[in-house]
């Protein structure tokens, strides 16, 4: 049973074994290795590579914070609260599933009944100091309201670092410019969803 795992036919797939000398076990062997390392000047081989590349000015890292890498649409950074495209109202219905599913227990919300007899979120906080950005809250959200955003620069001098509802909510001017971005990660609608839904009969 274990054989198929042990015999991986390394050479067949273009892999090759690096010839690594075994570690010395005897005292004499260890002494020889120390002498080799001291006088063969292997260190300068490495230093030369660095110096060569520096002079070539062909640098592969970016200079953060002046430059920033673009991040993927499924990246899970600080949460956002989305609005409805049709009416600009908040998508969050206050169902409390995000609060329930949160495995690091960092979401807390208060709800109440509003003037129109609807459920309203009166207070909503996420303790980013506790959040592990697992994405469960976005996945469980039935309204695609809470999602992850791309804002990962949330360093804080406090261990507890809260973000509230207002701060997460898409600003109205962004909505006016039609610039709200849909989240494509956990919880987003998968393609061809419509085809899979069975329609409920209607008597209209």
């Amino acid at each position: 049973m274990m054989e198929q795992f042990n015999n991986r036919n390394i050479s067949d797939n273009g892999y090759f074994l690096v010839d690594i000398v075994d570690y010395p076990t005897t005292g004499w062997g260890k002494f020889k290795r120390a002498i080799d390392r001291t006088f063969k000047l292997e260190l300068f081989v490495g230093l030369w590579v660095v110096l060569r590349e520096m002079i070539k000015f062909d640098i592969h890292t970016i200079s953060y914070p002046e430059e920033k890498m673009p991040i993927g649409p499924r990246y899970r950074a600080v949460h956002e609260m989305k609005r409805l495209w049709e009416s600009d109202t908040e998508r969050c219905i206050g169902c409390g599933l995000c609060e329930k599913i949160c495995i690091s227990d960092c979401i807390r919300m208060d709800t109440r009944i509003d003037e129109e007899s609807r459920k309203e979120v009166s207070e909503y906080t996420i303790n980013l100091g506790r959040c592990i950005f697992c994405g469960y809250c976005a996945e469980v959200c039935p309204e695609l309201a809470i999602t992850h955003g791309g804002e990962y620069e949330n360093a804080s001098d406090q261990r507890e670092h809260f973000v509230d509802y207002e701060a997460m909510l898409t600003p109205m001017d962004v909505m006016k410019q039609n610039a709200q971005k849909e989240f494509e990660g956990f919880g987003a609608i998968t393609p061809h969803e419509d085809e899979r839904v069975k329609k409920t009969p209607l008597a209209y």
Binding site: C95, G96, K100, R108, R112, I113, E120, T200, L202, Y204
Partner: protein
């Protein structure tokens, strides 16, 4: 009912003949789906999902009775189809707002939809406007309602308010094609469902009931919700703390649902009270009066030192019965050690009454409980405003009347429209105050076994009877023969001719005759009208279990000793089983545990009541104490049960046990005394932590333990003193009682029970008199006087003015001398 064996799904099950199949199955942990059925209530037959096959025939498990040897299959292919179709029907037009619904997943519609595997919808009907109603303390959303009528059933069969009914929904009829294509029962159920919705019986859009909220508790979906709780919290966030309600002697099992107050405030807060509504029904005070905790209390060392000083100086502890058994026990220990006089008049009168009762009954405790009353079919209530003294006693009364087809006599001076409205088989007899003795003699006369009853009493009772002749008018039918001329065609000749025909017919005729009848002067003394005998004989048809409920009016009666003896005689010599209503939460416990004095000394400590130094759980004393929802301990209920209760909310201050410790009566925790209660032979020596608190599927109450009634020597003297006919209160009378949902200062403190304190007058009395609601009146009795404003109360009738005791600021108790009724002069200010 005899024991029988039936077979459910191959399992032999013991049950009683005549028990519903559903209950037999549930008692034996066999699952039969059911939505509309409520244990203890009559079957509604709205959901039809409890369909089973009994001996090859489809029946509804909730209303089919078990017969010996019955073979029941809970699920066949046919039944599964019906059930699935029923659940699909329930899902038709049900809003997809589960995310915000207050049921938050504790939803029977969700559960059964999943249970029946409904993954697609086959039916449709046009919806009608089903917008939400605000009914006051309840919020009704017809959109979510599945019209299982559980609320209607609970209100009618348990509570007795009859405030809800089904009303027409309007809208389209079902598509005719469904009748052919759908399973039969599912179609019938849908056809009914599609025509009705829940509405109020009073024709308005605001509930006017005793506001118990039981309808919202039994709602399987989120259609009926307590307005105060709406959209406050999801069910899963709430921690359920099992407890015993601390407001009256019913000792209902409740659970406090607790969560942090808000995002900003992590302190615990009680959001709502839940109950096992299949086995226990709450009143409005229990359900909504949960926030009576003593908040923001810390250990105030100065106050504590003052308290110790006060205890050293005092010779009397004045207290109320709104304490736990353990606290009562600590008070008793302190009294034993330091010789404090324990003063609690309300408990002392009950204690004395029980002692006087035991002299004839030979036992220290009354023989029955409210569960037995509920299962009986003839109830007599004497000396209690049952609706407000103990709401559970009223529920028992109502359940017996409606579900057991029982009958009842309600003897009380204050007319009560709610009690009258329970059933047409209840007769209210509003005798004059102080006539309770006559009532008990009447009960003896009507129901006691005269061959057993002591001769003197039999003779005394006979002295009230005489024969009198009355004229009765009867309608009899008389045969009258008359000769009528008719025109007929002669068959032979074919000509018309006039023939004389003899015709007889029955003609009703009124006849009066003289009849000798028995005249019972006891009835006349109580002001009972003629025709009582007929009503009683109608009431007594097919009755086999009898229950007598007596209340606090008797304990404080000037002749309470005689009343106690009469009550004992009724229990001994008739079929009546006896229940006594203790006036306050733990009156029975205090009466069993404490040695009470009638006279206070010179320096008093008051515990939740007046004193030179006041310990108070209400937060208005010299040293704070925890309220019952902040304490662990036990409470003794009317059902003679010692029920455990837990602390729902934290308490940061000193307790009575801390004082006792400082005074040298040492125990680490108050509940260390639970086991010590066993030193009293009526109690058991059980550790607090090993007290159970649940109901089984069979409906058995496994909560704490029952008190053991002790035998005492029976005195051979069963004499009772005769009726003093001059003992009667007339003219302007006041009565000490509370409005619905109020019991003590603790209920008064709660936010949701916002009853206005004042002088309660019935609507009809206000109409007849020149008083108006809001007027300030001065009430003067032989004992004192007070001024308060008039509150109109439509839950009472008649002329008697009610003074509440829930507001100690009113100090209404100072106006009477023990007995709850007293003469008063009322003057407008």
């Amino acid at each position: 009912m005899s024991d029988i064996v039936i077979n459910i799904d191959g399992q032999d099950v013991k049950t009683q003949e005549g028990e519903f199949i559903l209950n037999a199955a549930r008692a034996n942990n066999i699952f039969i789906p059911a939505i509309c059925y409520l244990t203890r209530c009559s079957p509604t037959l709205a959901c039809r999902i409890c369909l089973v096959e009994a001996d090859g025939k489809q029946v509804y498990a909730c209303n089919a009775k078990a017969k010996p040897g019955m073979n029941i299959t809970t699920s066949t292919e046919e039944i599964e189809k019906e059930r699935r179709a029923i659940m699909e029907v329930y899902d038709v037009n049900h809003p997809l707002q589960c995310g915000v619904c207050d049921q938050s997943g504790e939803c029977e519609l969700q559960n059964y939809t999943l249970e029946m595997g409904v993954d697609a919808q086959s039916y449709a009907v046009k919806d009608v406007d089903r917008s939400a109603h605000d009914w006051g303390h309840l919020h009704y959303d017809p959109g979510l309602c599945i019209v299982c009528e559980r609320c209607v059933t609970a209100c009618k069969d348990m509570i007795g308010d009859n405030s809800l009914k089904t009303v027409a929904r309007g809208g389209d009829a079902l598509d005719a094609e469904f009748k052919e294509s759908m399973p039969k029962d599912a179609y019938a159920m849908w056809n009914k469902l599609n025509k009705s919705i829940i509405g109020l019986t009073n024709g308005t859009d605001v509930l006017d009931c005793t506001s118990c909220g039981e309808c919202a508790a039994v709602c399987p979906v989120g259609a009926l919700v307590d307005t105060q709780f709406m959209y406050k919290s999801n069910a899963w966030e709430l921690t359920r703390v099992p407890a015993t309600c601390g407001h009256c002697s019913a000792g209902c099992q409740i659970s406090y649902d607790v969560k942090h107050t808000s995002v900003a405030n992590p302190e615990d807060k009680i959001y709502r009270v839940m109950n096992e509504w299949n086995y226990v029904s709450l009143c409005g005070a229990g359900r909504y009066g949960f926030d009576y905790q003593n908040t923001n209390v810390s250990r105030d060392e100065v106050a504590f030192t003052n308290a110790l000083e006060a205890f050293k100086k005092a010779d009397t502890i004045n207290f109320t019965s709104t304490i736990t058994n353990e606290e009562a026990y600590i008070l008793q220990k302190l009294s034993d050690k330091f010789g404090y006089k324990l003063v609690n008049e309300e408990a002392r009168s009950f204690q004395t009454f029980l002692k006087d009762y035991s002299e004839i009954s030979g036992t220290t405790l009354y023989g029955s409980d409210l569960k037995e009353s509920m299962n009986s079919n003839f109830i007599v209530s004497i000396g209690t405003a049952i609706k407000t003294d103990n709401p559970n006693a009223r529920y028992s009364l109502n359940n017996s009347l409606t579900v057991n087809k029982g009958a009842a006599l309600y003897f009380h001076p204050v007319a009560d429209p709610i009690i009258d409205g329970l059933s047409k088989n209840i007769l209210s007899i509003n005798h004059k105050p102080l006539q309770e003795e006559i009532v008990l003699y009447l009960i003896l006369d009507l129901f006691a076994d005269k061959s057993q009853l002591p001769n003197e009493i039999v003779e005394y009772l006979a002295s009230f009877h005489s024969m009198k002749s009355i004229t009765v008018t009867e309608t009899i039918k008389e045969k009258v023969v008359e000769i009528v001329k008719e025109t007929k065609v002669n068959e032979e000749t074919g000509e018309e001719e006039v023939v004389e025909v003899e015709k007889s017919k029955m003609v009703p005729k009124q006849v009066s005759k003289e009849v000798e009848v028995d005249d019972n002067r006891l009835l006349a003394m109580l002001g009972i009208e003629d025709g009582f005998d007929d009503i009683l004989s109608k009431f007594m048809k097919k009755k086999d279990s009898f229950s007598l409920i007596v209340g606090p009016d008797l304990y404080n009666h000037p002749n309470s000793k005689n009343l106690a003896r009469l009550v004992a005689l009724v229990e001994k010599y008739s079929q009546f089983k006896l229940v006594m209503i203790p006036a306050l939460t733990n009156t029975l416990g205090v009466a069993m545990i404490n040695t009470l004095s009638s006279e206070a000394g010179t320096t008093t400590i008051g515990y939740n009541t007046k004193g030179d130094f006041i310990l108070s759980a209400l937060g208005n004393g010299d040293l704070d104490m925890p309220a019952i929802n902040q304490q662990e301990g036990t409470l003794t209920s009317i059902n003679k049960r010692v029920n455990p209760t837990n602390a729902a909310l934290p308490y940061g201050g000193y307790t009575l046990n801390d004082i006792a410790n400082a005074l040298g009566v040492e125990a680490e925790n108050t509940i260390d005394y639970t086991v010590e209660l066993g030193s009293n032979p009526a109690f058991k020596a059980v550790e607090f932590d090993s007290l159970d608190d649940y109901y089984t599927n069979r409906g058995e109450e496994i909560r704490g333990y029952k008190l053991t009634p002790l035998s005492v020597e029976v005195s051979s003297n069963e004499s009772v003193s005769k009726i003093d006919e001059t003992l009667i209160l007339e003219d302007d009378i006041i009565y000490l009682a509370n409005p619905v949902r109020q019991f003590t200062d603790f209920t008064n403190k709660t936010e949701n029970l916002d009853e206005v304190s004042g002088v309660y007058m019935s609507e009809e009395f206000l109409e007849r008199s020149d008083y108006n609601e809001g007027d300030t009146v001065n009430i003067k009795t032989a004992n004192g006087e007070l001024s308060a404003s008039i509150v109109s109360d439509n839950k009472i009738a008649g002329d008697i003015v009610i003074l509440p005791t829930f507001d100690s600021k009113l100090n209404s108790e100072a106006l009477v001398n023990g007995y709850r009724f007293t003469k008063a002069s009322i003057q407008k200010v």
